[in-house]
């Protein structure tokens, strides 16, 4: 079965979820990464509203009215799940116990600046837990389409929207490429099958460091 570009992006992001990690997946594309994580991989999913060990989403008629994830989906416990209050939940986040978070983005800059919570005058719902996830997870990945619906780059030399956190992103997974934030700048690390280097460069608003050797594909 050939995967869609979106599914290949999700699968590529899923491959960076390793055994033993505690991981928080943001609402939207990041949560969809889950379906590509092997079922027997020992991983603990964290949700901001007070769960370590988030289990599968349930249909409404199977749901526990008191058990949702931070996105409002009715989820289930697993063997080894724990529940806790909101202060303890963010203690996990801020004290560095999150090995990885995958987040969505409106904009992400070549230096790792992330804007994903506010569009002044148009979208101002409040940041929820995004700021602390972005600033404090040991590793921050962004999962996003390479361009917005109008085809404009979402990866920019500098964000134009208010930042969620500065210099927080380590890696960007898109439908076209995997890019890493390095001290030297934003590096193109992998390229989606069937996408050309020129396509990626044209769709990217930040300067890309392109290695000399051939790029791995995904």
């Amino acid at each position: 079965m050939s995967l869609s570009a979106k599914d290949r992006m999700l699968k590529r992001a899923a491959a960076d979820i390793k055994a033993g990690m505690t991981v928080n997946l943001g609402i939207g594309l990041p949560t969809q990464v889950l379906k590509h994580v092997p079922e027997n991989l020992p991983v603990c999913l964290h949700s901001e509203n007070g769960i370590a060990g988030v289990g599968p989403v349930l249909a409404n008629d199977q749901a526990d009215r008191n058990l949702i994830d931070a996105g409002g989906a009715y989820v289930s416990p697993l063997p080894g799940t724990s529940y806790f209050d909101s202060a303890l939940s963010f203690a996990i986040v801020r004290s560095g116990r999150l090995d990885l978070t995958l987040l969505g983005a409106f904009e992400v800059a070549g230096n790792g600046d992330l804007a994903n919570w506010m569009i002044p005058g148009r979208f101002t719902p409040g940041a929820g837990g995004a700021i602390e996830l972005a600033q404090k997870a040991r590793r921050v990945g962004v999962v996003t389409t390479h361009t917005d619906k109008k085809g404009n780059p979402k990866i920019l030399s500098a964000c134009t929207l208010p930042l969620t956190a500065p210099c927080c992103v380590d890696r960007i997974y898109t439908d076209m490429a995997v890019c890493d934030v390095t001290p030297e700048g934003l590096q193109l690390s992998e390229i989606a099958e069937g996408v050309s280097l020129d396509d990626v460069i044209a769709a990217t608003g930040a300067r890309l460091i392109v290695p000399d050797q051939p790029l791995p594909t995904f």
């Binding site: 949700s47 901001e48 509203n49 007070g50 769960i51 409404n60 749901a63 526990d64 009215r65 008191n66 058990l67 949702i68 994830d69 931070a70 409002g72 009715y74 416990p77 529940y83 806790f84 209050d85 909101s86 202060a87 939940s89 963010f90 986040v93 801020r94 101002t124 719902p125 409040g126 940041a127 929820g128 837990g129 995004a130 700021i131 602390e132 600033q135 404090k136 208010p162 930042l163 969620t164 956190a165 500065p166 210099c167």
Partner: protein, 230 residues
């Protein structure tokens, strides 16, 4: 030595709240939201309230009843994206909304409950969140002073209570409830079940009785407590 009895009717409990009060409401989305206490607050109609809650529930539920009834002057929250009514009222200037990052909101409340004046954090440094806030240096690193967030009242939803107010929460209905119960001058809890003294194992208590002032038994759960059909 018996523990004091704090049982209270819902009418009496809510009647203690004057106009202009600051009120913390437990809950993250539906779970843990004290819908019955909120409904009584709507019935009694106290006005000019400052509401502190993680979110504004969804349109037509919980906090939205208070908004709809014009009882809310200010909302302190982390995210109101699921309540378009709240967003519209904010944009129209009908309510004042103060946002905090979710964990900072939780910690400001916990710190108030711990009888501490504030805490120092690097969360939000380099973003607009840090603007206008007092800074201090600790070990050569800059931090923001976040102040304790207290309230006049906390309204909580518990799974179980005893008459002394020992509270147990269940699953993700815990969320802000135990924190808020520590941070208010007067804490009112509704409980799905009130067990006799000794009915709750001492190790299982999530919020100890000394923090709780009034315990209200819920006769039945209204529809709002159920699974939300989307």
């Amino acid at each position: 030595m018996p523990m004091p009895d704090k049982s209270c009717s819902i009418e009496e409990a809510i009647a203690q709240i004057p106009d202009g009060s600051s009120i913390m409401l437990g809950g993250f989305g539906v779970p843990g939201t004290p819908f019955c206490l909120i409904r009584e607050l709507v019935r009694q109609g106290q006005r000019d309230l400052t509401i502190i809650k993680n979110d504004a529930n969804e349109t037509g539920m919980g906090v939205d009843w208070l908004l709809d009834n014009g009882q809310v002057a200010k909302l302190i929250t982390s995210h109101i994206g699921l309540n378009s009514n709240a967003v519209a009222m904010m944009n129209a200037g009908e309510i004042d909304v103060e946002f905090a990052p979710q964990g900072i909101l939780a910690e400001r409340i916990r710190v108030a409950g711990a009888g501490v004046m504030g805490f120092v954090t690097d969360i939000g440094i380099g973003t607009p969140m840090a603007e206008g806030k007092q800074k201090v240096m600790i070990d050569g690193k800059e931090g923001i002073v976040e102040t304790a967030l207290r309230a006049d009242f906390a309204l909580l939803h518990a799974d179980r209570s005893d008459p002394f107010g020992n509270l147990c929460f269940t699953a993700t209905a815990r969320n802000f409830n135990p924190l808020m119960g520590m941070a208010a001058t007067r804490t009112i809890a509704e409980a799905e079940a009130i067990l006799p003294l000794g009915g709750i194992t001492p190790d299982d208590v999530n919020l100890p009785g000394p923090f709780v002032d009034d315990v209200v038994a819920l006769p039945e759960l209204m529809e709002a407590y159920g699974v939300v059909e989307r």
